[in-house]
Point group: C2
Chain length 336, copies 2
């Protein structure tokens, strides 16, 4: 039974476990400091496909397939798949999921999608709506550049505050087990809009939502930053991470000692031309599915508060001068 | 507690109730046979906004606000809002939801989004993850034409098989009550792809998925078409409805006596230039939120199997020659 605090933290009494996780990456990911955390990194971002969109779908497909194999499960064992990506109409997810014959719930939370998927998978498995669920999300540098900014052939210059969209997918199988990395609780985020309009500064757009979610989660659970081995944001990057710590510091919360950000971890910003770091659904999906799940499973880490962050914008909304609100969903992962 | 049949039907033992529902429409909707089912229809599709996208967001916003008022609830009483639309990156939903300060889960299921939202809202309320939830979806003829086909000024000719995207939004508040229109069970659909590539024939793309979901639901629940007052599809329109009945007839299921389709109901195809009928998330969202909810509440109808249907495509996927898979989610609405 799920017990909800009046302040919206979902507590999972059965503590569903991440039975397995898998991540598939592209060329830049395979040249970075996290390359050994991926199940596979391709030598080019074509992923043996004819279009960038097919390539992204192939990443997602392989992540799901690999996660199933690792869990020693078949697609028929999965009651639901929560999938999402950044593409218009979430086509990478649709084209991937159609091969698996698994009931599918399409999600859109921009780069926060994987955290949202984890939370929903936890609700479904904890209350026994399904025995096993999959949460998966993907992104692809080339499909994202083409859609949100410019085709690569244009040779566009990117500003220092921009982040490189991860060419990656991450998938987990969520189910029941006596031990492992479990989902202890979650909190669905609320949209926050501080009027950011610079589409080249996603970190600033998302930081307020992340601060809001973290503050609410800590307050609701009566915990402090020191109670966590890690407060892990999805992809605030270098700029957004600084802003997050400042925003929370002004609210009396110092998370600097425990804060990590997948966008800061995925690439080596000194050696790789990634400006403010990594972004995209696949950024947090890949690292949480493999590295963080593994570290919690083997008790290197006990409690990780994962806060997936998303900037809610489209190329059209930006051209129309709309602001870019953010959203952040929290998922507490811990060793069971 | 949710009991899941091994064949994936979610049974809601607490039978969450649609405490209220509201629908807001545009000009063509206000000139059609369903005009009195809407809480409000605007005289133009501008909805007092400067862009079509803002207009669609305004429809969604007003639908949510009206549903809250009718339920005599405040936004702070709502634990989660499940929202989606057809726009790139679901911007109508984001821009609407940001004003309500309600935890938000963005969904994408094309025109099946409202059914997906209802199912998820039912899971969350039935297992007491939240006390009350909102499910809302919207679409807008002008924003959809601009995004998926051509701006209106182009004067494009539409084929006989095309459907007119509803300029509409529908929202329901889902919670607990002793009586009313309740969500008895639901089944998340699986993607079906029969290789349709004609973006001007959405009905044909979606009919296989609808047939699949209906057949599975009936088989799993050991029921027959005659056990329902209505098997209501979302927006197959005239072409898709015929195909659906044929597909099921070949599988030994004759639903013709009980089948209705929101796409066939919303407009008067004799008097209004709507070709094969209505489509869009708002089509089923509006009619289910008001008319069908009301009829079940006052016992004109006892059991309605609502099957929201979605065609999974983007303008880019169509240009790339990809096929258009479909998905259909089932929600059994009944009088409690």
């Amino acid at each position: 039974m799920i017990k909800t605090e009046s302040n919206r933290v979902l507590q999972f009494s059965n503590r569903p476990v991440l039975l397995s996780g898998a991540s598939i990456g592209g060329k830049t990911e395979g040249e970075g400091p996290m390359k050994n955390e991926f199940d596979r990194c391709y030598p080019t971002d074509y992923i043996n496909c004819k279009t960038w969109e097919q390539a992204e779908s192939a990443l997602q497909h392989e992540a799901v397939q690999t996660a199933l194999q690792k869990a020693k499960l078949d697609a028929s064992d999965i009651g639901i798949i929560f999938a999402g990506d950044l593409l218009d109409q979430c086509m990478a997810s649709a084209m991937s999921a159609k091969d698996f014959n698994i009931p599918m719930a399409g999600l859109y939370g921009a780069c926060s999608t994987f955290a949202l998927g984890l939370a929903l998978a936890a609700v479904f498995t904890d209350c026994n709506a399904v025995k096993n669920a999959i949460a998966v999300a993907s992104s692809h540098f080339c499909s994202a550049e083409k859609q949100f900014r410019f085709p690569l052939e244009y040779g566009n210059q990117r500003t220092p505050t921009t982040q490189r969209t991860a060419t990656a997918a991450g998938a987990v199988v969520v189910g029941h087990a006596n031990s492992g990395c479990c989902i202890e609780s979650a909190m669905i985020g609320t949209i926050r809009d501080l009027g950011i309009t610079d589409a080249a500064n996603m970190g600033a757009a998302m930081a307020p939502a992340a601060a809001d979610t973290i503050e609410k989660f800590l307050f609701s659970t009566k915990t402090q930053p020191r109670d966590y081995d890690c407060i892990l944001t999805g992809d605030l990057g270098a700029v957004g991470s600084q802003l997050l710590c400042q925003l929370l510091f002004h609210r009396g919360l110092d998370i600097s000692a425990v804060h990590e950000d997948c966008g800061n971890l995925l690439f080596d910003s000194q050696k790789q031309d990634v400006h403010a770091g990594a972004s995209g659904c696949g950024c947090s999906a890949s690292l949480v599915s493999t590295m963080f799940r593994r570290k919690i499973e083997n008790k290197e880490l006990q409690k990780v508060l994962f806060v997936g962050t998303g900037a809610l914008m489209s190329p059209l909304s930006v051209r129309q001068g709309e602001s870019i609100p953010g959203i952040a969903h929290a998922v507490l992962l811990s060793n069971k």
